[in-house]
Structures are given as C-alpha cells and as structure tokens.
C-alpha cells in the first residue's frame, strides 16, 4: 500500500512540475506553428536550446534576471527569423527539414569544444552557475511547505518558487494566445493553414503572417527552454530530437488548435508517463532492470503518439466536426 501511494504521489507531483510547465509552454509555441498556422516545425528542441543557452550565458556574463529573460526570448526570435526568411516562401515540407536540421546543428554546436568557454561543451553548464539571480528574486520565506500530498522546499532549484514562476509564465502565454487567436489576426492564420493561396488572393501578406507566427511560437519555445533548465542544468544532449517528439505528443494529445490543449496534454502526458515508469519499475523489478523500464516507457510513448494520430487526430479537446471532411 505504501508503495502504491508513493507511486501515485510521484505521478501527482508531475502535474505541477516545472518540467511539465516547460513542455506546456513549448507545446503552446508549437501549437501556434502547427495548430493555427499549419507550419511544420520538427525542431522545437532547437528553439528551447537557444533559449536555455541565451538565458544561462547572459546570466553567467552578469546580466540581471529579467535582461537574461529577454535575451532568451530574443534568441528564439532570432532563430525563427533565420529559419523563416529562406523557407517560408517555399512549400511547408521545407520548413520541416530545415527546423529538424537546425535543432541538431544547435545541439552539436553546443557540444563542440569550439565555444566551450561559453557553452561548457558536451557537459553543458551547471545549474549553480546561472540560477543565483533567479532564486534571489523569490519573495517566499525559507523553509518547506506542504500542500496536500506534495511537499517541496520554498526556495532553491526544485522548489515552490520555481513552480510558481514557471506556471505563471505558462498562464501569461495562454492568455496572450487566447487574445490573439480569437482576433481577426488569428483568423488569417487559420486561413493560411487551410490554403495559403486563397488567402494571398484575398490580399493578405501571407509571408508576414507566417513569419509572425513562427517568431511568436519560437519565442514561446525558447522561454520553455529557460523554464526547462531552471530546476536542472543546461545539457545539450537532454534537448535533442526526443524532446521535440515529446512536445509533439503533448500538443497532439491535448488537441492542436485548441487553447488549453497543450497545457492539458502536458499534465496528462507526464502524469501517465511517471505512473508508467515508477509503476513498471516496482512491478517488473524481478523481470527486467530499471534501465530497460525506461526504454520500454519511451517505446510506449511512441506507440501512444501513433495511436493519437490514427484514432483521435483532433486530440482530447479538439472538435471532431472539424475533421469530418478531408482537409486537403
């Protein structure tokens, strides 16, 4: 019984974990790209890595927290511009190829010894080198707080302060996405998703709209990278293709082109993922080593992604009616 409640509490903790907030924010950005505008970005991890490096390096170089926050956002915007200018005039598939390669290039550039003075090379940047200014901002008194079954330190890396901050950023992002997608601007994005030539024929500057969406989603991605590294460290190999596909799973699970889909998707995904891993580790301890359990859980995520796309392409919150006819 003790074992079971431990597993459940661990899974519950995932609902509000900082990493879950980071995935939710990354999926919000991806949702702007894919869900609303139809842009195929298969390199969201690249944006996250840019944001993480931007934030950490700026802080290490002595920037105050909010300046480092802006540097992180700017890094995502810059990457979006760099990738968007040559590819947004081409067919959608090209953006997909370019984003996935860019994400890998950024990761390899981060790992290389060339700029190791700034990026720390393959071992990355230790959390203690850049967390100071953020943790100093905390208004909470020192100590521990228990809410229900969950107990964390007030301040520090894996703390209530990190959670409050991370989810506040997610909340602001949801609010902004709500404001812009209910507007005529959001309607143009959806029009572009359906058929960009038709929108062009009606006098809209399609390239500019796609660029705005790419930059906004990219900034969400890079800030998600910031949230991702706040409780841990910057390690380029933690932020590779797997991360991108987890973000895709989160977004598709919740429902593309829905407001709360990414948030719900992230919470549900990590709740179940943790439940599976800890559950299998306890239940299958006699059958297979813990290492294999991790792999098995990863494999199940892949199968889940396929099942969502095949059996419920609109996700949990999506509108079934929208898929009642062929999109193309």
């Amino acid at each position: 019984m003790d074992e079971l409640s431990r597993i459940l509490i661990q899974a519950l903790g995932q609902l509000i974990a900082p990493a879950t907030a980071a995935y939710a924010l990354a999926a919000i950005g991806l949702n702007l790209h894919f869900g609303y505008t139809g842009l195929l970005n298969i390199g969201q991890a690249g944006f996250m890595l840019m944001g993480a490096y931007g934030f950490a390096i700026a802080t290490i170089e002595g920037a105050p927290f909010w300046l480092a926050f802006l540097v992180s956002a700017g890094a995502g915007a810059l990457l979006a511009l760099l990738l968007g200018i040559p590819t947004l005039k081409l067919r959608g598939d090209y953006l997909a190829i370019v984003t996935i390669s860019a994400a890998e290039i950024i990761r390899f550039a981060g790992r290389s010894t060339l700029w190791a003075d700034y990026t720390g090379g393959a071992s990355g940047l230790a959390g203690s080198t850049y967390k100071g200014p953020f943790q100093a901002l905390s208004p909470l008194p020192d100590g521990r707080t228990t809410i229900g079954p969950l107990e964390y330190l007030n301040n520090g890396s894996d703390s209530w302060w990190t959670r409050i901050f991370a989810w506040s950023v997610v909340l602001v992002a949801v609010l902004l996405v709500w404001l812009i997608t209910r507007s005529p601007w959001g309607r143009v994005l959806k029009g572009i998703r359906e058929d960009e030539d038709a929108v062009r024929a009606l006098g809209k500057n399609v390239f500019a709209y796609k660029m705005q969406a790419l930059v906004l989603g990219g900034v969400a991605g890079s800030l998600a990278g910031l949230l991702f590294v706040l409780p841990i460290s910057v390690a380029p190999d933690n932020m590779g293709r797997t991360l991108t596909f987890f973000v895709w799973t989160v977004m598709l699970l919740g429902g593309a082109a829905t407001l709360f889909g990414p948030v719900l998707g992230a919470m549900l995904f990590f709740f179940v993922y943790m439940l599976l891993r800890t559950g299998m580790r306890a239940g299958l301890a006699d059958v297979m080593p813990a290492q294999n359990v991790e792999h098995l859980a990863g494999l199940m995520v892949g199968v889940a992604l396929m099942c969502i796309v095949i059996f419920r392409p609109q996700g949990i919150l999506g509108n079934k009616k929208e898929l009642a006819f062929d999109v193309r």
Partner: protein
Amino acid sequence: MSAENTTEKPAENTTEPVELDDETLAATVVDSETARQVTETLAGVEPKVGVAKPDPILRATGVQRRFGGMTAVDVDHLEVQRGAITALIGPNGAGKTTFFNLLTGFDKPNQGTWEFEGKQIARTSAAKLARSGMVRTFQLTKALSRLTVLQNMLLAAPDNPGENLFGALFRPLWSGVEKRNTEKALEILERFNLAQKKDDFAGSLSGGQRKLLEMARALMTDPAMIMLDEPMAGVNPALVQSLLGHIQALRDDGMTVLFVEHDMHAVRHISDWVVVMAEGRIVAEGPPTSVMQDQAVVDAYLGAHHDTDLGDDSLLDPAVLARLEAEEEKR
C-alpha cells in the same frame, strides 16, 4: 485519416457535365440598362486581335511565359473594357489559366508588361494586386474548409485593424469594424443563398456552394475587377443558371468581370466581349455572336474536321482518308 472521416464527404464532381440547351441559357440573360450600354459601347470596337478599347481597365503587352522549350503564353496585346464581362475562352491547354495566373500575380512572366487602372503591375505580388482591387477565384475551388462560411467571408474584408498583431490584442480597436463586416457579409451571403449556412464549416458545402462562397468571398474585398477561373467547372446545370445570373449582377453593380471558360454555350449568352486563345496566342476577339462564327475560332476549338464523324466507317476507306489528309496539308 480514420474511416469515419469519409462519411460527410461532400458530393463533389459527381454531377453530370454541364449540358444546358440554349433556350435555358438565353432565359438567364438579364436585360439591364448597364448591359445595353456596354453592348452599345463595344459595338463600335472593331473585332480584331489586340484592338484598343474605349476605356480599358487592364492592358497587357508582349506577355510571354515559357516552360522549358514550350511557350505556354504569348500574348501581343490585350485590353479589357471597364464595366464589361469579358470571357477568355479556348480549348484545353490553350494557356488561359497560365495567362490568368500571370495577370493576377500568381506566376512570373518571362517578359511582358501590363497595367491595371493605369498602374504598372507586371511584377506586383498577388496580395498587393488584390488590395488594389483585382481579386480572383480558382479553378479548383479554394474554400477554407475548417473555417465557417461566415469566417471565410470576414477573412476577406480589407483593412481590418484586428489583423495587425498588436491591434489584435485590443478588442475595442476592431470590434466595430468586425460588426460592420459581419453585416456586409450576411447581406452578400443572402444574395448567394448561403445565409442559412453561415455557421457551417466551409468544408461541408457542396462543390457548387463552394463556388458561390468563393465568389461571395471575393466580393468582400470590394473589387474593381473580378477574375473568375472556370466558375462553371464541375457545377450542376441548375446552379450554372444562378451562377450566370450572379456574374451579370456583378457587372450591373459596376464591376469588371474577366472569366476563363471552355464551355462556349454558357459564354455566348452572358459575355459582352469574347477573347479566344489557342496554343498560347489570342486568335480572335469580338462580340460573342461574331466571334463564334470566326473560322480561326471554329478551327481552334473543334479542329478543321469537326463535322466529320470519327465513328464513321467511311474513314476506314483509304481514299477518303487520303482526301482528308490532302485537305489538311493545304490548310
């Protein structure tokens, strides 16, 4: 996509080919004041290729588009009269749609210039052209499936401050404009018999209704000139009649209409001027009645031996074949 996705698929392209007799078509002709005026003005224009019009809204000169070694479009000169319905006809592969794409900025020419309302527009982007008053529809209808009919209409309205990223954040900046646009959209939808469908997804409309929606949507941009690419393609005969009525109504509201079509019957009754293309060139132009009798047109359309029944057994006779071939040589 899953199996249930096919259940609500609209019955598109399942209609019979358009087969309307001339009487029905003649009945759709609106005898308006504008129609009479336009006919009168164009009566004074000599029906020959590249002729100057009294009041051209669009003038194209030396337009060429080549794909590899093939010249798809080679138009020396064309003027389109303001306020008239001009039909661009020609057999399949004549270059009509390519020419159309060039004029509307959806394709780039190898050479050539053209002006719209006196302004050079040869290398202007499609979006900018649309904003300056020249709007087009597509041969393969482009309804925005996962937007509602009303959203399709509102999307087309020009100058909405809410379409600016920063304006979008503040609803009071655009709610007024949005309300006026909605009224206008509903009025237009009413005219096109789509008002009851306003909250349906455009993807759930039938093929013909999508054509109507596309035309209605184009009107939301307040165009001076509307370009229709095969508006009658894949539409059932009953709807063709109402489409023809709508096209004439556009002219009577003061718009210039240029439309591509390959069905000559429909064209004859509603157009004020007909331009015929074949193999990339303009081979004839003039009022519909005279152009249809032009030998170049008949040949381009039907081939020189259109009255020969290819199922006729006499074609198997070598002597008859030899005579036909000799005739072909002489042409």
